[in-house]
Symmetry: C3
Amino acid sequence: MFQAKIRSDTLKGIVNIISTLVDEAKFNISPEGLNLKAVDPAHVAMIDLNVKKEAFEEYSADETKIGVDLDKIKDVLKLASSGDMVEMSQDEEKSRLVMKVGNIVRRMNLVDTSSMSDPRVPELNLPAVVELAVGEIQKGIKAAESVSDHIALTAEEGYFELYSEGDTDSVNLRLEKDQLKEISVEGKARSLFPLDYFSNLVKAIPSDTSVRINLGNNYPVKIMFNLADGKGNVGYLLAPRIESD
Amino acid sequence: MFQAKIRSDTLKGIVNIISTLVDEAKFNISPEGLNLKAVDPAHVAMIDLNVKKEAFEEYSADETKIGVDLDKIKDVLKLASSGDMVEMSQDEEKSRLVMKVGNIVRRMNLVDTSSMSDPRVPELNLPAVVELAVGEIQKGIKAAESVSDHIALTAEEGYFELYSEGDTDSVNLRLEKDQLKEISVEGKARSLFPLDYFSNLVKAIPSDTSVRINLGNNYPVKIMFNLADGKGNVGYLLAPRIESD
Amino acid sequence: MFQAKIRSDTLKGIVNIISTLVDEAKFNISPEGLNLKAVDPAHVAMIDLNVKKEAFEEYSADETKIGVDLDKIKDVLKLASSGDMVEMSQDEEKSRLVMKVGNIVRRMNLVDTSSMSDPRVPELNLPAVVELAVGEIQKGIKAAESVSDHIALTAEEGYFELYSEGDTDSVNLRLEKDQLKEISVEGKARSLFPLDYFSNLVKAIPSDTSVRINLGNNYPVKIMFNLADGKGNVGYLLAPRIESD
């Protein structure tokens, strides 16, 4: 059983993050809230998302799993104005999700979750920690996209840098200590990542959100942030690319 | 002879409605105003539109017929800001329509109306009557479009419902008596319609417009509303689809 | 050596004008400012643009030539909000241009200018002079585009007219003496021009800009205007088309 009511903006924020990685998602639902673990089809990135029941206006659930097509949720969210409420309930007999916005009711078939196993979230030892408002790097990402498909993240004592290099041009964005909320690194940590994954995620996060980035040398990056006014959180892991030179 | 001056917004409203059905239109012009009767090429819908001379700022005409390409009128309307006046006059010698917005004059060849006969508007006996602000159903239409190509309209004592069903999902919008301006039906009236026609019309009507819907069982629907601040009116007939089950 | 700082809006205005004609541009740089002379690949139009050093917030340069890909400059300008500063400097060793907006640095390869010779600006004797705010004709241009690929400009004692004629429709915009800042013509001057070139230029000029048009009979038109708050100026020459009738 699952029955909930949530502000459309909150749900929109959650769906935007998840749909940077997958089209269909399996939510693990419990009386305390919901969790989602997913990897993209190419196994380049992984997301681990939690939303507490307090993020909802109303929430009541048993342990259950719900598989949904995120495009359908987005269709419904397009009908909601900012501030509107969205009601959801699981119709277990017909294995459908019923969503309600204002007078409109949409019933949608659930996605079969039997083949969707939860990925195991690896333990990583990432020596560098950077914290900053994500808005600080959103323009830099946009700049990088016009020169390359990759982006190198570097943390060193006193600064955090994004660097992209193409055949003829390069872009870099360097944030000094005073533009960061926190930086803690011994020596230097630098890894190269696929720009599209990094960019899609960074653009989906509201610009005033504080993100915490854990970085190593030629190692995955872990990006952590809150959503739903702190009543939810996301851990996002992105695999590195091998630098060729 | 035909010479008139009209607010660009008023003309825009009229053209938007007509162009949901046809690309070229024949206006029957008289000293009292203009009338248009048209069916779409597939003969699925029919429109009967009247605009009184009072809808115009200036109006002076004999009995005449004017065939126009609606895209050309739209081109001219794009040059007008809200509140601008549009002047029109028939150049009978050259069978052209001359339109003026500000300093710009466009002369356009008229469409030959000799082969455009007026369709006969059928008399229908439609037992159910519903009246509502069209804005109430515009979002529901949008929701329906993501699941199906058809929409069923149902009126029964106390409510009016729009329902669309696709292979996996369904959408319905139910308006209770207190959300309607009027409902009058004996028993139940239900018919299925092609969603694209219904949607194009509903979206072209300003959302605060009151529409009157006459409905039967597996029968055409008639939709009536005013335009041009009540100085014009539209009757729109849409043929039903056969329900397969 | 070239090093400068400029308001992003000012640079945007300059680039918009140049890119109506060419994708790559060679700037001739001197201690007093910069100059560009360019013809489009089809040799239909020519631009002669000057920007004084006073248009920049900071400016310091020797005699040099810089070839740039305008799309890259536009990429950088997209990162700037209105009021932001853009810093530019030539990295002579690596023959690169370094552009800076906020924390973002983009390094771009310069375009080889060795094969880009400056076109010679011809002396023309154009009898008619018209001056007007370019905004007066921007809507007329838009109207003309829906009927034809050509536009005729006519100046005669007391008025200036734009006229386009297609197979079935025509558009004209006539500005009387009191809508013009100046008109001076003996007899009549009339020439036909390719609408796309004329339109692209006219639309790229801010609508409150005063433009001076020199016109002859079946002769090129010269269009002159200021940019960068009067600290820059443009002369634009457009070749006529032969009228067929």
